[in-house]
Symmetry: C2
Subunit: 150 residues, 2 copies
DNA sequence: CCTCATTAGTACGATATCGCACTAAATATA
DNA sequence: TATATTTAGTGCGATATCGTACTAATGAGG
């Protein structure tokens, strides 16, 4: 009788996949019109890490192929959330900046999402999350390196 | 100066999203030809939970829309991994069964993936994962309920 | 029985994702 | 400096995802 009970690693990645799916859906339900969680992710990233980074850097941050990020950024531009300027240091490259509209939208999206996660925050205290984060971050970094090693 | 440092909840879902992305890519790199992680997920689900369930039940398990699951199951059928039989209890419904090929492929996929996660398993012991899982499962269940409450 | 509402699955269309191939610029090497 | 290699971003095509609307079967209430 082969392994009917899979290793905890499969369970882990399975749970993570489902949580991702659920949180994404939950978020997108509360976003205005055509905005997706990927757009939200980009806006958040720009605020957190700082504006003026390149598309490739953002793609790496989210670990998605660069063509995917090209598409996502195109969506953000179309929505008027970001602006793509030439990179003064490298003519092949671009620099991404938030527009004031992008900044506003992001603010309201964070607020929206916060209310959406209210119930969640009641059940899972910040402290509990904070104890969880280091492990997840470590995993992310490890997988990240493993990917480079290909 | 508005919240440049986002709540840990955003960080949490961000990390989970990236880990999902990384693990999925890592897995799919090691799968044969046209097989996707979603197919792998279905096969695993059938082995773990038991065969003979319905498409809708599987869709709910992965928290994806049923039309998505229709498509995924179609792919599995096309690859000869599963078989869709009529549901004797409900003529609208179907029952999903693994083919022997599906069982074989799943076995070898598990083996493949296991070697892929070798390095990961070295850094993150089973014990460590086991302590992590209850929280994640609780989160999944909570978000699950929150979704139903819509 | 006979509506009427609900439910399982699907067809279809829109769009997101992503591999591959390409261009242009930068960098390394001779 | 001239040439080769690497790198940033994009166009294109294939396919995955998913919302909407539909069909057929079930179940509920008369």
């Amino acid at each position: 009788m082969p392994d009917t009970r899979p290793s905890p690693y499969f369970v882990l990645f399975n749970e993570i996949g489902i949580i991702h799916q659920l949180s994404r859906t939950l978020l997108e339900e509360r976003l205005p019109d055509g905005l997706l969680s990927s757009h939200f992710g980009v806006l958040n990233h720009l605020v957190r890490v700082g504006e003026g980074t390149t598309p490739l850097a953002i793609a790496r941050a989210f670990q998605v192929p660069k063509t995917t990020m090209t598409h996502t950024l195109g969506g953000c531009v179309k929505h008027g959330l970001i602006e793509m300027r030439p990179n003064p240091d490298d003519a092949r490259s671009k620099c991404i900046w938030l527009t004031s509209k992008g900044r506003e939208i992001r603010e309201s999206m964070v607020a929206q999402a916060a209310t959406g996660f209210e119930g969640f925050a009641e059940h899972f205290s910040e402290e509990r999350i904070e104890t969880l984060l280091p492990v997840l971050t470590e995993m992310r970094q490890f997988l990240d390196k493993a990917r480079d090693a290909t």
